[in-house]
Each structure stands twice: as C-alpha cells, then as structure tokens.
Amino acid sequence: MNSSTPVVEIRELSKHYGEFVALDRLSLTLNRGSILGFIGPNGAGKTTTIRILVGLSRPTSGSATIAGADCVRDLAKVRRLVGYMPDKFGSYDNMRVREYLDFFGAAFGISRKERQLRIAEVLELTNAVWMQDRYVESLSHGMQQRVGIARTLLHRPEVLILDEPANGLDPEARIEMRSILLRLAEEGRTLIVTSHILPELSRICDQVAIVAGGKLRAMGTLQEVTRELSQRRTIEIQFLSDAGLAEAAGRVRSHLESDAEVTVSDAETIIRCRTGANDEKLGELLRFLITSGDRVSQFREVAGDLEEAFITAAREAEAERSAQGPAKTKAGVA
C-alpha cells in the first residue's frame, strides 16, 4: 500500500441520539502515513466519530472503512487494524506496566515469546523502559499517556487513533509526545489525533479536519483550512526604510475597507494589515503603493492561524444551532 492509498474512508457518516444529531453526514478520506489533526469544540462530534471508527459505536447511517474493513461489519478485522487510545487511560490496580502490556498483548492473541519482544520494542519507542516495573496506578498522567501509546502499538496497528494524547502534559512531556507521534508517522502509520492544544497540532499534523456541530467544516492542509475558514487574512508589507512609513500606512488604510486593522512596526519597517480583501483588491493595493512611490521590498500573506479557523468554525456551528431553535443534548432537550 503506498502513501496515496486511502486508509481511512468515512462516507456520509451520521449518528443520532434520539433527536440530537451528534454527527451529520461527515465524509473524509485519509491516506497512509499521514497525521490528521481532528479538532473541534466540545460536543462537536470528534469522539463520536472516533468511537465509530474503533467499533465502539454504530452509525445511524453512512459508512466508515479502515484499510478496506468496514467498521460495522468487519469489527474483528478493524480491531486488529486500529490502535485506540481513549482520553481516559483505563488503569488497572496492582498491575505493573509490563504486566499491563502483557495482558493487552495476550488479548490480541500475540504469542508469549513475540509479546515479550514487542513489549520491549514499544517501551523503547515510547521511552518508557524505565517504568516497566512501576505500578500503573502510581504513574503520573504523562507517564500513563506514554504507556497508553505503547499499549496501542502492541499489535502493530495500521491506524492509530489517539484521543487527546497531549492533554494535561507538561511542556517537556508534550515535546516528547510530539516526537513519538512524528516517529510513528515516519514508520508509515496513519494517525488520527484529537486535541484542544491547537499550536501543538499545527506542528505535527499534515492534515487538519475541523468539525463543529456534527459537521465537517473544513479539511486539508493547515494553510488550506485556515484560508477556507479565516474571514480575514494578514498581509505584511515590508519597506526598504522607515522613512514615510506613517504616510504609507495612511495610504494603505484609505485603500482598504474601513474596519481593516493596519499597524506599523517601525523597527521592522513593516505595515501589517488584517483585512477581508480578496486577491484582486490586494493586487490593486500593491499597484497603488508602487505608483505612489513607496519603496516596497516585500508584499506577503502570513500563514493563517488555526485558532482563528477553529473559532470561526465554532461560531458557524453556533449560528446554525441558534437558527434551528433550542439546543438539544445527548441526554435530551437542554
């Protein structure tokens, strides 16, 4: 299977809890070896999607396949293809880390000899060898997250689904977690990672999917998503010197819409604008500045911010919900 082959395919996936629509015809495709950042506000439908993918929940309609195995019909196959780490660790009392991993290895039917090798391998990969004799319940949250990833890797799954792996981790542990995930992707595994720590996701994911109100709002590379969702873009205009910078700022301001934000950085000799103008309008602005005699050295668009895209998606969903009437929850009408 090469990297352009889709490993995860979700088509028109819907999940209803009574009147509450947790997922609304969500479709996405993910290729082998990619890391998908699956983000959205609380109650957006992320965990519901994940639970359907790992066979813990049944969709109301639509389908989901992992490496060709249907997540409803080929459950046994899917369980061997997927490594799932839920947001809750699922600890057992009085068990040492090695025993914990040994149990899950045995549950996946791995032979005893092979199991010992794989346990050593996954502990090595997750930098957790030193904690193999520790009791699972006495581990810190960060350590448990590492053991959780080691557990998901035991049966060598093609797809790893990690629900909030960086949640509650300190910066050092987060950096370590990031390097583990990147290493796994290098090995050719496909990763679906949910997180609320967006800067973290933007560093590791080559694909981002934003889901809100049960609907997929945007999917693609980070730039594609931010461009799709951000209503405003940030433009940086660099000048050769700071002479006449204030006047140039006035000209920029007069050429853009009234609510555009224009700021001047004398030290950098840069004028920054946050504007909703399209490419044509920005081209006109550049032409205007040059014809006005301004010595522009660079005119560039700054890559969009994932946080802003996230907020836009959440607001869209909120607006849709308000238009539909009183909000409903899984438990009933709120």
Binding site: S91, N94, G105
Partner: protein, 554 residues
Amino acid sequence: MHGIGVILGRELLALLRSPRILAILFAVSVCSAIVVFLKWPTSAIVDLDGARGREVFRWLTYAMVAAAILAVPVFPSTLLVREVRRRTLELLLNSPLSRSSIYFGKVLAMLGFVMLLLCSTMPAMACAYLMGGVSFSGDILRMYLFLIVVCTELIVIGLLVGTWCRNTESALRWSYGITFLLTVVPWFPDALFPGGDSPLAKGMALLKLISPIPGILQLLNQGSVAGTGLIELHDPVVSYLTFAAIFITVGSIVCILRLSHSLLDRARSQGYMTDDQDGWIQASRRILYLVDPQKRSKGIPPLINPVMVKEFQCRQFGRMHWLLRLVAFCAVLSLLLTLASARGTESRGVEFTGALIIVLQVSLIVLLTPGLAAGMIAGEIEGGSWNLLRATPLGPGRILLGKLISVVITLALLLCATLPGYAVIMLIKPILQPQVAQVLICLVVSAVLSMLISAAISSLFRSTAIATTVAYGVLIALFGGTMLVWINRDAPFGHSVVENTLRLNPMAAALNAMQASGFEKYNLVPSAWWISGAVSLVLLVLLFVQTLRLTRPD
C-alpha cells in the same frame, strides 16, 4: 465549632439529596412495619403480661441492628475515598478548616443519617410501646442510645478504612469485613470451643464481649442466650460500651492523624526487582520464596484466559504469593475447625457443630463474594478500562469466562478449607456420610449462586460501590432474610410457607441436610438445589446477555 458546622451542613445536605438514602429509609420503615404486622395480636384477648409487646420490641431491635450493620458502613467508608478521588479533600485540607473539624463534621453528618435511620423505626416502636410490656426509658430509650454508640463505632470503622483504601470497592469490602469481624465473628470461637475453665475458653468468652450483640441481648433481657459462664460475670452492656469508647477514641485520633495531604499523594514503590539483583541474591530468593513477588513475570502462558490472569493480578490479594498465603490460612482454619468439630461433638452433638460450620462457611461466602464479583464489570466500566477491553478481539464469552473462573478458584479454595471439619464429623458419626455429601453440594450451590448474583448485579450498574452494596443487600436478604420466615415458623407462617421460602436458601438446605435443630421437619433437598440451579442458570443467561450488550457497539 464553626468548621464542624460547615462540614456537617455540606455532608448532611449531600446525604439528604441522595435518592439512595431515601430508598434505605423507606426500606427500613417498611421492614419495621412488617415486623409489627407479623407480630400484631390476632386474638381478641388482651395480653396483660405484655409478652407480645416485648416480642415486637425484640424483633424491631433485631431489624434495627441488621439495618445499622448493613447500611451504616456504606457511606463513611466511601466518603473519604470519593473525596480523595475527586480531589475535593485537597480543597478542604487547603482551607482554614482544621483536620479535626473536618473529621468531626463528617462523623456528625453520618450520625445525622443514623438518627434518621432510627427515627424511621419510631412509628413501629411506638406500636410496640402501645402494646405494653415495654418501658420507654428502661427499654426503648436505652436501646436507641446503645444503637447510636454501635453506629458511631461503625462510622469510625468506615472513615478509618477510607483513609487506607484507594477505591470505593475495597473500602466497602474492608468496612463490611471489619464490621463482620467485630460483630459476628467474636461469637464463633466461643460457640466452637464452648465452656470450660481453661484460659482459651475464658479468652473466647471475653472476646465475645467486643461484639455489641451480647449487650443488645442483655438489654432485651435475653442475657442467657448471649452468654454462659464467664460472660455472666461481666455486664455485656458495660463491657461493650467500654470497648466501643476506647475504639471510637483511638480510631478518631488515628483517623484525624491520617487525614492529611499524604492521602492525596500515595506513591507506590515498585520495590527492587529480583531480576536486577546480584546473582547471589537471586539464588537466595529462589530458595526462600516459593513464588517471588518481585520477580518479573514471564507473561501470560498460552491457552490460559488472559482476563482470568488479569483479574488475579488486579485483585489486592489475588497474586500467587497471596493465594499461597490464603491456602496456608485455610489450612490453619481447617485444623481449627477440625479441632472444634472434635470438641464440639462431645458437648453439643455433631449436628450442632455441623450447623455452626455451615453458618460460618456461608457467612464467609456472603462476605467475600460481592467483593470478588460485584466489581467485575461495574469496576471496569467505572475505571474506563471496559472500552479498552471492547477494543480488543476478546469476545464477550471469553471475557466473562475469565472473570468467573477467577472468582470460582478463590471460592473453591475457601470452601476446601473447611472440608477436614466434615471429615471429623463423618469419623465420629459415619452414618452422616450421605448427609455431609448433601451439605457439600449445598455449599457449592451457595457459592455459585452468590457469585452469579453478584456478577449479574455488577453487569447492571456503572458504579462499583453501588453494585457491591446491592450485592451485599441481595445476598443478606437471600441467606438471612429467608431465615426470618423460618424464625416466625409457628406464627404467622405455616409449615408450607416456611418450607417453600427456605427452598430459596441453599444454606437452609444445608442445615436441613445436617438435620440441625429446627430444620429436621422440612424437606428441602434436592428441591432447593433445583431452584438454586434454575436461578443460577437464569442469572448466567442474564449475565451473558448483559456482557454481550455491553461489548457490542452502542
């Protein structure tokens, strides 16, 4: 005082808001009403000596004691464990409240619940008073005050246990275990090694005084039932109150001292692994240990159910070295029971000793089984590991089988402990051989039924504490509640009603097979086996269906 008031208000409000409290109070009111109803005079002749009133008072007291032993340990034992898990204890300890005000606030709140519990029996007690023969200050008030002391002791036990245990399940198990140890167990040594002036016999008789039951019987003017010989030299009420006062004081001091930040950060040392030690240490440990707990496991062997191994590993005393200790303990227990059988048969007859061993065994089964089986599914759901199990290729049948086998093995070890006692009975009276065989079948049936009841309850709840409490309640109702019908066998229940009710109780069938006093005239074997077997089968099906449902996608 202000701090105590703050905690008291918060805890009492939380307790009163709980629907479980309402259910318990309702159940106790209904039970006490049933006692009055059953003992209400049926003839029109006025009972001038007040015997009927005293009988109602006696039965109401028994009901109150049973309710206190069953309901009171639940809340204090889980209270601190929950506070630690939810980190609310951290907030309390970081507040200006002193540790003693936190502790006493909680004790007083629990006592508030006890007051409500006792108040719910007051209408029934008023009926007993109106029937005559019972004085208010001499009987009723003294009994209520005595029960308040008993409940305070149970509250202190629960809170103390809560400072040691890490989860609600083990807190409940230990609370019930210690309650059982302090109330019921002190009776057995004296019953098994009766009379005599030997220091052992005297010690056994004194041991009985730490239980509140002799004191209660004394207050009911049933002192002769409570004790013989030495016990009559000591006033059981005074003896118990002295013991309870010491226990409550020492227990409270220990509990207040333990109520600190160390409860929130209980790191568990991994110890030194034998595999990492020098060669000579490894060699010496190989000689000294049958099973070295610090040696790295070689992994789950092939063809063994991994869930079963996991269940043993997760249990507090489930590891091989603990199981060996359990076997050793059982061997010692069986030797003691053998000795008791030999001595008891001389003075009280084979049947009495046999009956005592049966009651002891069933009590052990009732005490231990909910702890082993009631958390098997509820615990996994509560801890979040159920979803991990569901995400593995293990089927519901294999998961269930692994869990059940782990309970069966532990219960089998316990039951085996008392077999030598029966061997002595058969040696003394070989004619009893077929009866003993029947008793053993009844005990196996009791164990299987208890396990399946607890396991089925476990599959119906998402909280281990609730599942364990409900399992204890159902088992006590089955093994103890049906005996209440037997106690009322002359009036109001007729022979057939008692016989049919006892058929539900495999312990009664065992007592019937042993021809224990009061059980000879019933014919419970083998019908009790069939009934228990059928119930077990239904429970097994229910358990499997529930497991299947819980493992399937939602």
